[in-house]
């Protein structure tokens, strides 16, 4: 503290501390805390409880309608008993029968299903019989009413009880989603390992190149694809793998399949395609860190090992790889993190055709199902998985955070 204030004075120091504080608290910590908070607050979908409440309301409404009809029918019966003709001619429209006069004036063909048509001659069934059916229906509904009300109340109470801190966002996640989570991690890990295997010789070769012109050229060759937008790199591959894409056209030309007859290999519909494109999209995040560390290795060490009779394998195992450890750690962490959290590759290579990636499930919970808390729980799972991976890599390669982020 004294160091900063002495050089820059209280005002600038205060500003520096304030900005750092805002960054840490408002941009880094609080959003994550909020995410964690949401992840542990279960908000029931409300679907079931709402449905039950709706059913109850519907039954009550139906009973009200039946009551209305019964009254109308009873009135009709009473009128018929007291020498009906006068009532009809008197034209006193009963309150329960607002359509009666209209029905008389208008076309008599209007039949309203479900509505009693007391004013209309000839009724479908004698009023007594209609009364009876209506009454049985009402009795039936009233019998159900108790059950419906109980269910609606119970679900509502459950909904209220369940809201609050719990692990339910995690425990209610379906087995399928857990499996997708696991697969995503396995695939991401494989992407990381493959990227390393492919990249290591390249990084080594570039770092060992002696001529500066050649190094510049090789670096240019690596920087250009790295700097070109991730989406465009994916797009290039989608063009190749699409159903009428370049790969299938090539197979068509070779006579292996016939596009004209609708034969096509659905490359994009497989996890394999996602896997391949992901390697292409993130491989350069592995090359540069490894290159940067191997470059600092004194070439004499390799020469010395060779002169002392070490085999190529041994040189790599005992000299180059140990030196490159921080670079390998950084490359692995970046590649794993990018692939596990990638929404671009699985979302754009044959969207909806291949099994989901975990990021897509998170996306759906947020933006399609509107289920933010479950989405937060899943985002938290992803974050925890990545953190564990970072910790594992750090302890495996014995590197510190300082060596990782440089």
């Amino acid at each position: 503290m004294s160091n900063l204030t002495r050089t820059y004075g209280p005002f600038l120091t205060g500003l520096v501390l304030l900005l750092t504080g805002v960054w840490i608290i408002a941009l880094i910590i609080l959003p994550q805390v909020n995410l964690i908070d949401r992840a542990f607050v279960y908000v029931p979908r409300g679907g079931e409880a709402q449905q039950a409440a709706l059913e109850l309301e519907r039954a009550q409404q139906r009973i009200a309608t039946i009551d209305f009809d019964i009254r109308a029918t009873e009135k009709e019966i009473a009128q018929a008993a007291s020498g009906g003709g006068s009532a009809g001619a008197g034209g006193a429209p009963s309150p329960s029968n607002p359509f009666a006069p209209g029905a008389k004036i208008g076309s008599s063909n209007v039949v309203r299903p479900g509505m009693p048509t007391p004013g209309l001659a000839p009724p479908a069934a004698p009023p007594e019989q209609r009364l009876k059916t209506l009454e049985t229906e009402r009795a039936e509904l009233q019998g159900q009413l108790g059950g419906l009300k109980e269910r609606a109340d119970r679900l509502k109470a459950e909904q209220q009880a369940a809201t609050g801190y719990s692990l339910r966002n995690f425990t209610t996640m379906s087995g399928l989603h857990w499996r997708i989570f696991g697969m995503t991690l396995v695939y991401s890990f494989s992407v990381t390992v493959l990227c390393f295997l492919v990249c290591y010789p390249i990084a080594y070769a570039v770092a060992q190149t002696r001529s500066p012109e050649r190094v510049a050229l090789l670096m240019l060759g690596l920087v250009i694809p790295y700097a070109i937008n991730e989406l465009l790199r994916i797009f290039a591959w989608v063009m190749i793998l699409a159903n009428r894409g370049i790969l299938n056209q090539l197979l068509d030309t070779l006579g292996i399949l016939d596009l004209a007859q609708g034969e096509a290999v659905h490359w994009v519909a497989s996890n394999g395609a996602v896997f391949c494109v992901m390697i292409y999209a993130y491989i350069l995040f592995m090359v540069f860190p490894i290159y940067n560390t191997i470059e600092t290795l004194d070439r004499n060490q390799i020469e010395a090992a060779r002169d002392l009779g070490a085999s190529t394998w041994r040189i790599h195992w005992r000299v180059v790889l140990p030196h490159a450890k921080p670079g390998i750690a950084v490359g692995s962490i970046m590649t794993f993190m990018l692939s596990a959290g990638s929404i671009s590759v699985p979302g754009l290579v044959g969207p909806g055709l291949h099994p989901d990636w975990f990021s897509q499930i998170i996306y759906r919970n947020y933006f399609e199902a509107g289920n933010w808390n479950i989405g937060s729980a899943q985002a938290l799972l992803l974050l925890v998985a990545c953190t564990l991976f970072i910790l594992a890599v750090m302890s495996l390669f014995r590197v510190s955070v300082r060596e990782i982020a440089r």
Binding site: L27, I228, N229, F235
Partner: protein
């Protein structure tokens, strides 16, 4: 003199015979670069194909329509090219606005963080450092959603350009911080001390000594922040809400089917990138040569 010492004095291995491991390595490098560049080459070529599904195998003649659009004699638009794609143009505007905001956010934050970490000797430094680089190690989508819901929950700020700016700024500031730290660690503190001894105010020291020393890094950080922001997809996709940037628009267009207009955008990107990369390489070589001469 024994034969052993004579052997050692000789060059390690006279390279008269073909070194097969070298050949294998070179072939491998060739294949790797083919793997890197072939898809991009295909993408570039397809931008000039008159076929309205992007392809190089089904060649229907050379055209620039996807770049310019084409109108028939009556002035009706026949082929929609880049200039007619309003959402792409607007998206580019949004991208540039976000990038400008990200530069404004991340350079002061990154510089402050770097000053705190390099100048403030506390026991919490490692913890602070871990916290400040953690956004780089967090998956982009987690950063995107956490920012989006936080600002919505507490400030009723709807997801849009502003939340995207904040989400991107959070991790891009970490990159800037690392660059500033590297520079600050090479700073000769004696200059600042001397200025203070000679009676300069602390503000003066910062403005006349520290800032000029950091100027090159501020420039590089701005460029890196700009590029990172423009390129970003994963974080942006989750924080942008109903709005869009050039890159998210490319993404949503890709989901509806491929269009050669995206290839045209790709060509523009490739041309920019290659030019920038070549200039950067030449500049670096000149700098290295100057250093070697000095």
């Amino acid at each position: 003199m024994t034969t052993a010492t004579a052997d050692r004095l000789r060059p390690a291995r006279p390279r008269l015979t073909v070194d097969w491991s070298d050949v294998a390595l070179n072939v491998y490098i060739g294949v790797f670069f083919l793997y890197l560049f072939l898809p991009l080459l295909i993408m570039v070529l397809a931008a000039f194909n008159a076929n309205d599904t992007p392809s190089v195998t089904d060649w229907r003649g050379f055209t620039l329509d996807w770049f310019t659009g084409r109108t028939d004699a009556a002035g009706n638009l026949v082929v929609k090219g880049l200039p007619q794609e309003d959402r792409f143009i607007q998206g580019l505007g949004h991208s540039l606005a976000i990038a400008a905001g990200v530069i404004v956010i991340s350079i002061p934050l990154g510089l402050s963080g770097a000053l705190v970490l390099t100048r403030l000797e506390t026991r919490a430094t490692t913890l602070l450092y871990t916290l400040l680089v953690s956004p780089i190690l967090t998956p982009g989508i987690v950063l995107g959603v956490s920012t989006m819901i936080f600002w919505r929950d507490y400030f009723a700020l709807e997801a849009g350009l502003l939340t995207t700016m904040i989400a991107q700024g959070t991790f891009i500031a970490s990159y800037c911080m690392l660059m500033f730290m590297a520079r600050l660690q090479r700073q000769d503190r004696v200059l600042e001390e001397a200025a203070l001894d000679l009676g300069a105010s602390s503000f003066m020291v910062f403005r006349r000594i520290t800032l000029p020393f950091l100027m090159p890094t501020i420039a590089t950080s701005a460029v890196i922040a700009f590029l990172q922001s423009i390129e970003n997809y994963n974080t942006t996709f989750f924080a942008i809400g109903g709005s869009w940037t050039l890159v998210t628009e490319i993404g949503s267009r890709m989901r509806f089917g491929l269009s050669p207009v995206i290839n045209a955008i790709g060509v523009v990107f490739v041309v920019f990138t290659v030019t920038a990369a070549v200039i950067w390489t030449l500049a670096r070589r000149r700098e290295l040569a100057r250093k070697a001469a000095a």
